[in-house]
C-alpha cells in the first residue's frame, strides 16, 4: 500500500509535535495535553503501520543517505519481525500515553513536567523506530536514543537520592550494553562492504566460526543487559520503580523487549542461527532469569520493585522459548524451532500487555495513596474498584491463569520444551525436561507472588491512612488500564487468531519455513510440533457457563439467599485492627525459609523490655532484608577493580613536578627502546 510513507511520517511527526508541544506550549496543562496527544497520534499511526506490514506484508523502506553520511546513512526497513515489535510498542504506548496524560498532572508544579513530555515522546519515537533500523549506525543511534531518553524519564523525580542512583546504574548498564553491541556489530561489519543489514547477512555467512561465536556472545550480553537477563538485570529493579508509572509500563512492558528483538535480529536473522550451544545458553539464561526473577519478586515489599523483578522472570520465560527455538533450529527441527520462537514472541506481546497494565495499576495506586510500600496499603478494592479489577486481570494473566493471555503463551513455551525428546542427544532432552520443571516452578511462584501483590495491596483492611483515603483515579487513567485489561483477555481467548500470524513473523529468518497451522481454525490452538491441543475460547466459555449454571441452580433449588455482614472472626477478640493482618513480609515468609540458602536473609530482632520486668515487652522491632548476594559477588569485584584502578592512577598525578619530568624522560626512553627493539 502506498499509505506506508504517510503513516510513517504521521508516526514521526506525532511524536515530534508531542515533544515540541511539551517544550513550547504556553501553559503547563497545554504542555501535558500536547504531550499526550502527540504520543497517541504517533502511536496510532505506528499501530496501523505495524498492522499493515504484519498482516499484509507491505514492505516499508526509507533511505536517507544524507543523514549520518560518514557512518553509512540512515536506513529504515520494516519487515514482519520489525512490524511485530512495532505493534508491541504501540499496543502499550497508546494506553500508557493516555494514562500518563492524567498521571503527569502531579508534576505540574515541578521542573520535570516539560522534560517529561519531551523525553516521553522521544522515547516513544526511538522505541518505535528501533525495529525499523536497517543498518548499524541507525540501529545504534536509535538504541542509544532510547536509552538516553529513558534515562531522563527515570530521572523525572530527581529530587530523590535513590532515583539519581538508579538513573546512574541504568545509564551505566545501558551504555555498557551499547558498547558490547557496537563491538558485535562492527565485528560483523568488519568484512562487509557496508553496514547495511542486508550486507551483514551476506557477510556473516562467510565469517569464521569463532568470529560468529564472539558476535553471538557480545549480542547476548548486550541485548541481555537491556532485556534484564540475570545477572545483567541489576538496573531493572532500580530504574523501573524510580520512573513515573506510565514510563515504567513502557520500560518494563516494551523497552526490555527490544533486547529480544535485537537478539532475534542478530542471532537468527543476520547470523542465521548457530551451533546448539547458542540456543542452550539462551535457554539456560532464561531458566536462571525466570527463577531468580520471581524469587526476588516474592521478597519485595515495594509494589513497583516487585513488578520489575517479575519482568526479569517473564523475560526469562521469553528467552526459554527463544532459546528452545534456536536449539531446535540448530538441529534442523524447523517445526519445533518455529514453535519455540512463536511461543517466545507471543509471550513478548502478552507480557507487554499485562506488565504494562500492572505498572499502570501500580501507578494508579501510587497516585491515590502516594506510597508503593505494600505494607502500608490494603483494602483499595473498595475505594478504587475499577483499578482493582484491572489489576486483578493483570495479576491473573501474569500468573498464567486460563483463559487469559499469559496462560496461552506459557502453554506454548511448555509445548516447545516438550519437544525436547526429539533432539538427537538425550542429555539435551533432559535439560529441556529440567527447563519444563523450572518453568512450572516459576509459574507456581509467580502465582504466589501475585496473590501477594494483589491480596496485600487491594484486599482486607487498609494498613495506613493513605490507603484508607484512597479514591478512584481519573477516567483517562482508568481507560488506559481498561484497554490493556481487555487486550489481556482478548489475546487469551482470541489467541487462535493471533498466533498463526506470528509464524509468519519468524518465517524466513535463519532458514525457517512458513508456519502452517493445523487444528480447527479459530477454535483450537495447535501447531506443527505441539503435542497438545487447547481451545481457550471454549475454556473461557466453560468457565463462564459453570457459575451461571450454579446461580440458576441456586434459584431453582431454592437455596437460602440470605446474607449477613459481620465481623471477621478474631478468636473471640472483638475489634479487629489492621495490625492483626498478615503482612507482605509474613506472606512470603514460608518461601523465604524454603529458599534461605539462596536469599541469605539478614535478620535483626530487637526487643525492648519493660524496665520493671522482662516479662513485659514494650516494643519489638523486626527487620529482615534480602540482599541479592550473587550480584555482590559479580558486581562488587568490578566496582572495586574500578576503584582500585582509579586510586592507582590518582597516584600518578601526585603533584611533584620532578615526578612529572621523570615521566616524560621515561616515556622518551621507553619509546626509544621500543623503536630500537622493533626495527
Amino acid at each position: 500500500m502506498a499509505l506506508t510513507l504517510p503513516l510513517f511520517l504521521a508516526m514521526v511527526l506525532g511524536h515530534v509535535v508531542g515533544a515540541g508541544g511539551a517544550l513550547l506550549a504556553p501553559t503547563r496543562a497545554g504542555a501535558r495535553g500536547l504531550t499526550t496527544l502527540g504520543a497517541i497520534v504517533g502511536g496510532a499511526a505506528g499501530l496501523v503501520l505495524g498492522f499493515d506490514t504484519l498482516i499484509w506484508g507491505t514492505p516499508f523502506r526509507l533511505e536517507i543517505p544524507q543523514l549520518l553520511a560518514v557512518a553509512g546513512g540512515v536506513s529504515l526497513h520494516l519487515d514482519r519481525l520489525g512490524a511485530f515489535f512495532l505493534l508491541v510498542v504501540e499496543v502499550v504506548a497508546i494506553p500508557s500515553a493516555l494514562f500518563g496524560g492524567a498521571y503527569s498532572r502531579v508534576y505540574e508544579g515541578t521542573h520535570s513536567l516539560r522534560p517529561l513530555g519531551v523525553m516521553l515522546n522521544l522515547f516513544l519515537l526511538a522505541l518505535s523506530l528501533v525495529p525499523l533500523a536497517d543498518n548499524v549506525v541507525t540501529f545504534l543511534l536509535l538504541w542509544e536514543l532510547m536509552s538516553v531518553a529513558s534515562y531522563f524519564l527515570v530521572l523525572t523525580e530527581s529530587d530523590r537520592r535513590e532515583t539519581r542512583q538508579a538513573g546512574l546504574w541504568y545509564l551505566a548498564m545501558a551504555h555498557g550494553g551499547l558498547v558490547l553491541l557496537m563491538a558485535a556489530f562492527l565485528l560483523l561489519a568488519a568484512s562487509a562492504p557496508s553496514t547495511g543489514f542486508a550486507d551483514l547477512r551476506t557477510a556473516a555467512a562467510a565469517l569464521p566460526a569463532h568470529t560468529r561465536n564472539t558476535v553471538f556472545v557480545l549480542v547476548l550480553l548486550g541485548f541481555g543487559s537491556k532485556a534484564g537477563l540475570v545477572p545483567l538485570h541489576v538496573w531493572l529493579p532500580l530504574a523501573h520503580p524510580a520512573a513515573p508509572s506510565h514510563v515504567s509500563a513502557l520500560m518494563s512492558g516494551v523497552m526490555i523487549k527490544m533486547g529480544v528483538y535485537g537478539l532475534l535480529r542478530v542471532a537468527l536473522d543476520l547470523l542465521g542461527g548457530g551451533p546448539p550451544w547458542w540456543g542452550g545458553t539462551i535457554l539456560a539464561a532464561g531458566v536462571v532469569s525466570a527463577l531468580l526473577g520471581v524469587l526476588y519478586a516474592l521478597m519485595e515489599q515495594d509494589l513497583k520493585r516487585l513488578l520489575a523483578y517479575s519482568s526479569v522472570e517473564n523475560m526469562g520465560i521469553i528467552f526459554l522459548g527463544i532459546g528452545a527455538g534456536l536449539l531446535f533450529q540448530s538441529y534442523g527441527l524447523t517445526a519445533l524451532a518455529l514453535l519455540g520462537l512463536v511461543a517466545g514472541l507471543y509471550h513478548v506481546l502478552n507480557h507487554a500487555c499485562f506488565k504494562g497494565l500492572l505498572f499502570l495499576g501500580s501507578g494508579a495506586v501510587l497516585h491515590a495513596t502516594h506510597t508503593r510500600n505494600m505494607e502500608e496499603l490494603g483494602g483499595l478494592i473498595k475505594g478504587m474498584p475499577r483499578t482493582a479489577f484491572c489489576f486483578l486481570v493483570g495479576a491473573a494473566a501474569i500468573s498464567g491463569l486460563p483463559p487469559l493471555n499469559g496462560f496461552v503463551s506459557e502453554w506454548l513455551v511448555f509445548q516447545a520444551l516438550l519437544g525436547g525428546p526429539q533432539l538427537p542427544r538425550p542429555e539435551l532432552g533432559l535439560i529441556m525436561a529440567f527447563a519444563v520443571a523450572m518453568l512450572a516452578l516459576t509459574s507456581g511462584l509467580a502465582a504466589a507472588c501475585f496473590v501477594k501483590a494483589f491480596g496485600i495491596t487491594f484486599l482486607a483492611m487498609p494498613r495506613s491512612v493513605h490507603a484508607a483515603g484512597a479514591h478512584e483515579v481519573p477516567l483517562a487513567m482508568q481507560l488506559g488500564m481498561g484497554a490493556l485489561a481487555v487486550a489481556c483477555g482478548a489475546l487469551g481467548v482470541g489467541c487462535t487468531l493471533v498466533v498463526p500470524s506470528l509464524g509468519a513473523v519468524v518465517a524466513g529468518l535463519g532458514g525457517l519455513p512458513a508456519g502452517l497451522m493445523t487444528g480447527m481454525p479459530g477454535l483450537t490452538l495447535e501447531m506443527p510440533g505441539t503435542v497438545g491441543v487447547i481451545a481457550p475460547a471454549a475454556l473461557a466459555a466453560g468457565l463462564l457457563l459453570v457459575p451461571v449454571a450454579v446461580l440458576v441452580a441456586f434459584r431453582l433449588g431454592g437455596v437460602d439467599r440470605r446474607l449477613r455482614v459481620g465481623d471477621t472472626w478474631g478468636c473471640g477478640r472483638i475489634g479487629q485492627t489492621p495490625r492483626m493482618e498478615y503482612t507482605a513480609t509474613a506472606f512470603a515468609e514460608p518461601l523465604r525459609r524454603v529458599f534461605a540458602e539462596l536469599y541469605r536473609p539478614t535478620e535483626d530482632l530487637s526487643i525492648d523490655f519493660h524496665p520493671e520486668s522482662k516479662y513485659f515487652v514494650q516494643s519489638i522491632a523486626y527487620r529482615s532484608e534480602v540482599h541479592p548476594w550473587f550480584e555482590r559477588l559479580l558486581y562488587a569485584p568490578i566496582v572495586s577493580f574500578l576503584r582500585r584502578m582509579a586510586f592507582r592512577v590518582r597516584w600518578l598525578q601526585a603533584g611533584s613536578l620532578h615526578l612529572y619530568l621523570l615521566y616524560m624522560i621515561l616515556a622518551l626512553v621507553v619509546l626509544l627502546l621500543v623503536s630500537r627493539w622493533t626495527s
Binding site: Q653, A654, G655, H658, L661, L662, I665, V669, R676
Partner: protein, 218 residues
C-alpha cells in the same frame, strides 16, 4: 682541514657537555650561572667554527646572538634573581652528587647508543660531536628532574636549549636562519616568562623550592 674542523667541534662539544656536570657536582647557584654563561660562550665558539669551516656565513650571526643573549644577558638576569632570593645553595637534591654523576655518565652512554645511527649515516666532519650534544640534552633533563630550586631548573632548561642548539649546529650546520631567529626569540621570551614565574613563586610561596608546589593533585 676536515680533521681540524672535526677535532675542534668535538672539543667544543665536550666542553659544553662538561659544563652541565658543574650543576651536578657543585651546590652553589652562582657557580651554575657561571657554568651556563661559559657553556653558552663555548657553544658560540663551536658555532663560529662550523660557520667558518662549513662555509655558512649566517651562523656568525647566530654565534653573535648566542654570546649576547645567553652568554651575557641571561646570566646577568640570573645573577640578579639569585641575589634577590639568597638562594645560593641547592640543598639536598633528590639524588646525591655521587649517584648523580654516575647516572649522568650512564646517560651519556645512552646518548651514544641512541645516536649511533646518526653517526653512522653522517658524512659531516662534525658527526663525532653529536652524541655529546645528545648527552647534554639527556643530562640537562636529569638536572631538571633531580634539582629542587626553581632557579636551578631554569638553568637546567637553558642548558637543555644549548644542547639542542649544539645538536642543530653539529648535525645540520644550523637550521635555517629564520627558524633560528624564532628559536632565539622563543628562548628569550621563555626565559623571561620563567623569570616572572620564579618571582611569583617566591611571592606566593615565600620560597623557590619547587617541592612546595605540590598542592594540585589527582
Amino acid at each position: 682541514m676536515a680533521a681540524t674542523f672535526s677535532q675542534l667541534s668535538v672539543l667544543g662539544s665536550s666542553l659544553t657537555l662538561l659544563f652541565v656536570f658543574v650543576l651536578l657536582g657543585r651546590r652553589g647557584v652562582p657557580a651554575y650561572v657561571n657554568a651556563f654563561a661559559w657553556q653558552s660562550i663555548v657553544l658560540a665558539g663551536v658555532t663560529t667554527v662550523v660557520a667558518y669551516y662549513g662555509r655558512r656565513p649566517d651562523l656568525y650571526w647566530v654565534a653573535g646572538l648566542l654570546v649576547v643573549v645567553k652568554g651575557v644577558a641571561i646570566p646577568r638576569l640570573l645573577q640578579r634573581m639569585e641575589r634577590r632570593f639568597h638562594a645560593e645553595r641547592e640543598l639536598e637534591p633528590y639524588v646525591n652528587t655521587a649517584t648523580s654523576l654516575v647516572i649522568a655518565g650512564l646517560l651519556v652512554l645512552l646518548a651514544y647508543a641512541i645516536s649511533r645511527p646518526l653517526v653512522a649515516l653522517s658524512r659531516l666532519p662534525t658527526r663525532a660531536g653529536m652524541p655529546l650534544a645528545m648527552g647534554l640534552i639527556l643530562v640537562s633533563l636529569f638536572v631538571l628532574v633531580s634539582r629542587k630550586k626553581a632557579i636551578t631548573q631554569v638553568i637546567g632548561f637553558l642548558m637543555l636549549e644549548n644542547g639542542l642548539a649544539l645538536l642543530a649546529v653539529l648535525g645540520t650546520y644550523g637550521v635555517p636562519l629564520i627558524v633560528e631567529l624564532g628559536v632565539f626569540l622563543d628562548a628569550l621570551l621563555g626565559f623571561l616568562v620563567m623569570q616572572i614565574f620564579v618571582y611569583q613563586i617566591h611571592e606566593t610561596f615565600e620560597s623557590i623550592d619547587v617541592e612546595r608546589l605540590s598542592r594540585l593533585r589527582h
